[in-house]
């Protein structure tokens, strides 16, 4: 078995080398790429299968980026052309897609697919070919534990860092006001749990005692037991590592038990457009981290929201914004380095991204050696019946309300 695998790998490697060598021979006059050749950006996306919904969102984000760049005259005077393959949400397929894009189609740039499960195998291919690999999804920590040197995650923060601004705020409160106890409930899911546990770790280090720590399976529909535990602990603050419906259910269950914490933070759910109606408008004071909001004041975001809405008829959501951000990072690198093709250029692009900060629709981004972004998510709060940015101070729309009013 092992020998067979090895043989296959050698065969693949040999094949790839041959393709590269042939391409190298034929492409002798290619090096100077005339200025009207388009810059081809290769992408494999889950346009069908399990991830087709977010996959199509990511596709729209890339399309919006290409259009906005081209309307301004392209990159380095060359038009940007997207070459998108459908990986059918399949991790095996994604590998052959990137092999094809890089080896056969000779794209100039590759950018990432959607979801952690597909980002890791795709990044491995890009790494083998020494290509810069900026990706719009894959926030789980596993992505950054693979030793990739060319990968950069184009979003403000990985799951564990989503609540960093909030942790800083809580621990910065004067001793008398600072919460003493906290209750955590998180879905058994690396992303949702990562957000809650990231905050838990920081608060525990800061002396906030954990009194409830519950993990529930993704299919849980009855939250009354968990809510009873949290309510009877009378924890000062409650933190939910939630997706959408579980967050709604948990909040309703807590309200049914008349539990009134000083602070309530839930990931994802409160930022959804249906959230307020789902919990009967009892939203006052609920906090949530958000990676992207159409209201973020960064200059390129204003342009993005306006032009995206004109192109697609509705404003962009987080998936679209993440893809657009990916495009922005690539564009910044290409413009600064002055090249966009396979070969030596790629290493220059990687080095540039590693050492620079890029202004994007989600704010300034920079990365550590593993490609993990160095930022944190903005914190939004339901104040006066609408969700508004409250942290960090330089992006806030209104002041954070603490302790929160009764819900």
């Amino acid at each position: 078995m092992t020998t067979r695998m090895t043989t296959m790998r050698w065969a693949t490697a040999f094949g790839a080398t041959m393709v590269l060598a042939l391409a190298g021979c034929s492409g002798g006059d290619d090096g100077g790429s005339s200025s009207d050749d388009p810059i081809v950006v290769g992408i494999s996306l889950p346009l069908t299968g399990d991830f087709s919904e977010p996959g199509k969102g990511v596709q729209r984000g890339y399309q919006a980026w290409a259009k906005i760049v081209n309307d301004k005259g392209g990159l380095l005077g060359r038009q940007v052309e997207l070459k998108i393959l459908d990986d059918q949400s399949n991790a095996d397929r994604v590998v052959s897609d990137y092999e094809q894009l890089i080896g056969q189609d000779q794209v100039d740039i590759v950018v990432g697919p959607f979801s952690t499960r597909l980002v890791v195998p795709a990044a491995r291919v890009a790494e083998e070919y020494g290509m810069l690999f900026v990706e719009p999804a894959g926030a789980a920590k596993e992505v950054f534990e693979q030793g990739f040197k060319n990968l950069f995650y184009a979003a403000p923060a990985v799951a564990d860092d989503h609540y960093n601004h909030l942790a800083e705020y809580i621990l910065g409160l004067p001793a008398g006001q600072r919460p003493a106890t906290a209750a955590y409930a998180a879905m058994d899911d690396p992303f949702a749990q990562g957000t809650a546990y990231g905050l838990k770790k920081k608060l525990e280090e800061g002396g906030v005692r954990t009194v409830v720590d519950e993990v529930y399976p993704p299919n849980t529909t009855d939250f009354s037991g968990i809510a009873a535990k949290i309510a009877s602990s009378k924890a000062d603050i409650v933190v939910g590592g939630s997706q959408y419906q579980d967050g709604v259910n948990l909040i309703v269950a807590l309200q049914q038990l008349d539990y009134q914490p000083k602070l309530a933070a839930f990931s994802t759910a409160p930022t959804s457009p249906e959230f307020a109606a789902a919990i009967g408008n009892k939203t006052e004071g609920i906090l949530a981290p958000t990676g992207y909001t159409q209201k973020a004041p960064y200059p390129s975001n204003v342009e993005f929201v306006e032009k995206y809405t004109a192109q697609f008829g509705s404003p962009p959501e987080e998936d679209e914004a993440n893809a657009y951000t990916t495009g922005q990072v690539v564009a910044a690198a290409v413009t600064a380095v002055g090249c966009a093709e396979q070969g030596e250029c790629q290493q220059k692009l990687v080095d540039w991204v590693r050492n620079n900060t890029v202004e994007t629709v989600v704010g300034p981004l920079s990365w550590d050696a593993t490609g993990k972004p160095q930022g944190a998510h903005m914190i939004q709060q339901w104040v006066g019946g609408e969700i508004q940015i409250v942290l960090p101070a330089d992006a806030k729309e209104t002041d954070i309300v603490y302790p929160k009013p009764a819900w």
Binding site: D188, E214, V215, Y216, P217, N219, T220, T221, D222, S224, G225, I226, A228, K229, A231, S232, S233, K234, Y244, Q245, V248, N249, V252, A253, Q255, Q256, L257, D258, A277, A278, I279, G280, K282
Partner: protein, 295 residues
């Protein structure tokens, strides 16, 4: 320590949960009693009723409880047709086995149609009184849970009176106890079985509506319910409605109390532990006679 209060709160939640389980399991045990049919699709019909309640609330603006006026007769009719047209055609020798396959197929069809009509998105009825609650000796009782419990109690009481006090109930119980003997005394067992099936499915309509009041629903949710419900009717004694009710109450309460020391995932295993213990030590069930001798 507030743990006394937590235990009392959990007991209250457990009783409310147990009441719902009792209603949901009663139909399931009835089918088995009447026809020795294992009705895998029972929980799928439950979710279907929940969706109908959600749909009538969201699209038509009617209170979910009012949807019962339509769903109960509708499900009764569907149950009669299901029994007469499909299940009664199965060969008696392989009835139990084949009914699993047949109703499994029905469950998958319902799930698929729900997914097609309403997508896989999780839904929840948004009621004005969704978070309203009453206080009882320090414990909080959500109004919606109380309504669900009330529905379950009324439905079970009706079922009990129907089976105990009416001629139809007697003939149904006679059919459950001894089909041939029932036929000998002149009971049209085929017709009775059809109506019995209809009643079983009508309980699913009530149960589904009660369920929809306070939980999230999605098309594949029924797989999550069928396991615990099957465990309840085996523990209670297959075919025995009071047995199912007692087992449901006991297991609901245990599950709720186990959530205090354990987490949600482990608390659910009580159903399977109870199922295992029943099959190993008392296969006829702890509360009912062997294959519903009583009731």
């Amino acid at each position: 320590m507030s743990s006394g209060a937590l235990i009392f709160q959990s007991v209250v939640l457990g009783v409310l949960l147990g009441g719902l389980y009792a209603l949901l399991a009663s139909g399931l045990t009835l089918y088995f009693g009447i026809m020795r049919v294992v009705m895998i699709a029972h929980s799928a019909f439950l979710i279907l009723a929940a969706y109908l309640a959600w749909w009538s609330h969201t699209r038509l603006g009617v209170d979910p409880l009012l949807s019962l006026v339509v769903t109960v007769p509708l499900f009764f009719g569907a149950g009669v047709l299901l029994q007469r047209l499909l299940l009664s055609r199965l060969r008696p020798a392989t009835l139990t086995m084949m009914s699993v396959l047949l109703t499994f197929a029905i469950a998958v069809v319902i799930e698929g149609l729900l997914g097609y009509a309403f997508t896989g998105t999780q839904r929840r009825i948004q009621l004005g009184y969704g978070a309203a609650n009453l206080e009882l000796f320090g414990a909080r009782i959500a109004v919606v849970k109380l309504i669900a419990f009330g529905l379950a109690a009324v439905a079970l009481l009706t079922l009990y009176l129907l089976l105990k006090k009416t001629t139809f109930g007697w003939s149904l119980r006679a059919t459950i106890q001894h089909r041939d003997a029932a036929r000998l005394v002149g009971i049209d067992t085929d017709r009775v079985a059809g109506y019995g099936f209809g009643i079983g499915l009508a309980t699913a309509a009530v149960g589904g509506t009660a369920l929809a009041l306070d939980t999230t629903i999605y098309p594949s949710l029924h797989w999550h319910w069928i396991g615990p419900l099957m465990a309840i009717i085996v523990v209670g004694g297959l075919g025995s409605v009071p047995g199912a009710a007692a087992a449901a109450m006991l297991l609901g309460l245990t599950q709720s109390l186990l959530q205090i020391p354990l987490n949600t995932t482990w608390a659910q295993t009580i159903f399977y532990l109870a199922l295992f213990a029943t099959l190993a030590f008392r296969p006829q069930g702890f509360f009912g006679g062997r294959l519903a001798q009583r009731f």
